[in-house]
C-alpha cells in the first residue's frame, strides 16, 4: 500500500494507493495511449481513405466507451466506501 497526503481546506487527507489502484490507473493510461495512436492513424488516412478513417474513428469512440465503464464502476465503489465511512 502506498500513501500520499494532501491538505484540503486545512484538513489532512491521506490517500492510499494499493497495487490494484496503480494497476487500474496504468491500464487506463495505456488504453488512452493506444486509442490516441489509433486516432492518429485515422487522421493520417482521412484524405486518402475517408471510409477507412471513419471506421477507425468509430472504433475509437467505442473504445472510449469501453474505457469509461471501469472508471464509472471505480467511482461508484469509491462513492459507496465514502458513504460507509460517514
Amino acid at each position: 500500500m502506498k500513501y500520499m497526503s494532501d491538505r484540503v481546506d486545512s484538513h489532512e487527507m491521506v490517500w492510499r494507493f494499493s497495487e490494484r489502484d496503480i494497476e487500474f490507473l496504468d491500464r487506463i493510461l495505456q488504453d488512452l495511449f493506444g486509442l490516441g495512436l489509433k486516432l492518429e492513424y485515422c487522421l493520417s488516412v482521412l484524405d486518402d481513405a475517408p471510409a477507412q478513417a471513419r471506421l477507425g474513428m468509430e472504433g475509437v469512440v467505442s473504445g472510449l466507451g469501453d474505457l469509461a465503464e471501469p472508471i464509472r464502476d471505480e467511482i461508484q465503489k469509491l462513492g459507496r466506501s465514502r458513504k460507509l465511512s460517514i
Binding site: 500500500m1 502506498k2 497495487e19 496504468d26 491500464r27 493510461l29 495505456q30 488504453d31 495511449f33 493506444g34 486509442l35 490516441g36 495512436l37 489509433k38 492518429e40 492513424y41 493520417s44 488516412v45 477507425g56 473504445g63
Partner: protein
C-alpha cells in the same frame, strides 16, 4: 520485401497499444511490423524467429520487465536494436535500460509519427532519449561521476532499490518478506532479484548473500546503504 525496409517487432501486453502502433507503422513507407508479443518469454521466442531490425518494447510486462527481455534479445540477436517505450520517466529504469543495451528510451506521450522517426534513427545506428528523461539521466551520470570510487565495487552498478533488496537478501529474507518490507509486490521483488543476480553475474541468491557477508567481514559494507 525490399531490402531497405525496416522490420519492426512490437512488445506490449496492451492489445490496444499494439493495434495502434501496428496501424501507424505499417502505413509508414519503408517500415513493416513483422512480429508481436505480450510477454518477456514470448518476445524472446518471436524475436529469435522473425529477427527484427528494431524492437519497440514496453517496460512493464506481465511476466517480468522489458529490460530483462531487451537483455535477452540483444544477447541472442546483437544486431537488433531495442527501443524502450514506457509511460514513466523513472531514472532507475532509464539507467537499467541503457545498461541493458536499449538504443532509445521514449515515453508513451510521444506521437506515433515521432516514434516512427525514432525507429528510423535507431535503425540507422542512432541513440535517442526522450527529452523528458534526459535531465534525469544527466543527474545520474553526474552522481556516478561524483562517486567514482564506488564504481570499483560490483554493487555500484546496482540501483538504490536493488542495493536495498540485496541487503535484505543477505539477511536471509524471502521475496515475500522483502516485498512486505519495502511495499512492493512479490512479482516486482522477483524481477529486482533477477536483475541483481544478472548484474552481479551470479546464479543463486545464496551466492549474493555470501558475497555481502564477505564484503561485510572485509569492512566494506559502507559502500551501499540500507536506507
Amino acid at each position: 520485401m525490399p531490402e531497405n525496409v525496416i522490420r519492426v517487432m512490437l512488445v506490449d501486453d496492451h492489445e490496444v497499444v499494439r493495434e495502434g502502433l501496428k496501424a501507424l507503422l505499417n502505413r509508414r513507407e519503408g517500415m513493416t511490423v513483422v512480429g508481436e508479443a505480450g510477454s518477456v518469454a514470448q518476445s524472446v521466442e518471436v524475436a529469435v524467429s522473425v529477427k527484427p531490425d528494431v524492437v519497440v518494447m514496453d517496460l512493464r510486462l506481465p511476466d517480468g520487465s522489458g529490460i530483462e527481455a531487451c537483455r535477452e534479445i540483444r544477447s541472442e540477436l546483437p544486431g537488433t536494436k531495442v527501443i524502450m517505450l514506457t509511460s514513466y520517466a523513472d531514472e532507475e529504469a532509464v539507467m537499467s535500460s541503457i545498461l541493458g543495451g536499449a538504443a532509445a528510451y521514449l515515453l508513451k506521450q510521444t506521437r506515433g509519427s515521432q516514434l516512427a522517426e525514432a525507429i528510423e534513427g535507431v535503425a540507422r545506428g542512432e541513440s535517442l532519449l526522450d527529452p523528458a528523461v534526459t535531465m534525469r539521466v544527466l543527474e545520474e551520470v553526474r552522481k556516478s561521476a561524483a562517486g567514482k570510487s564506488k564504481l570499483a565495487s560490483p554493487e555500484a552498478q546496482l540501483t538504490e532499490n536493488e542495493q536495498k533488496i540485496l541487503h535484505l537478501i543477505s539477511e536471509g529474507k524471502t521475496n515475500r518478506e522483502i516485498a512486505a518490507e519495502i511495499f512492493l509486490s512479490d512479482k516486482t521483488v522477483k524481477n529486482y532479484v533477477s536483475n541483481i543476480l544478472s548484474k552481479l553475474n551470479m546464479k543463486r541468491r545464496s551466492e549474493a548473500a555470501a558475497y555481502i557477508a564477505r564484503r561485510t567481514s572485509q569492512g566494506s559494507e559502507g559502500s551501499y546503504s540500507k536506507g
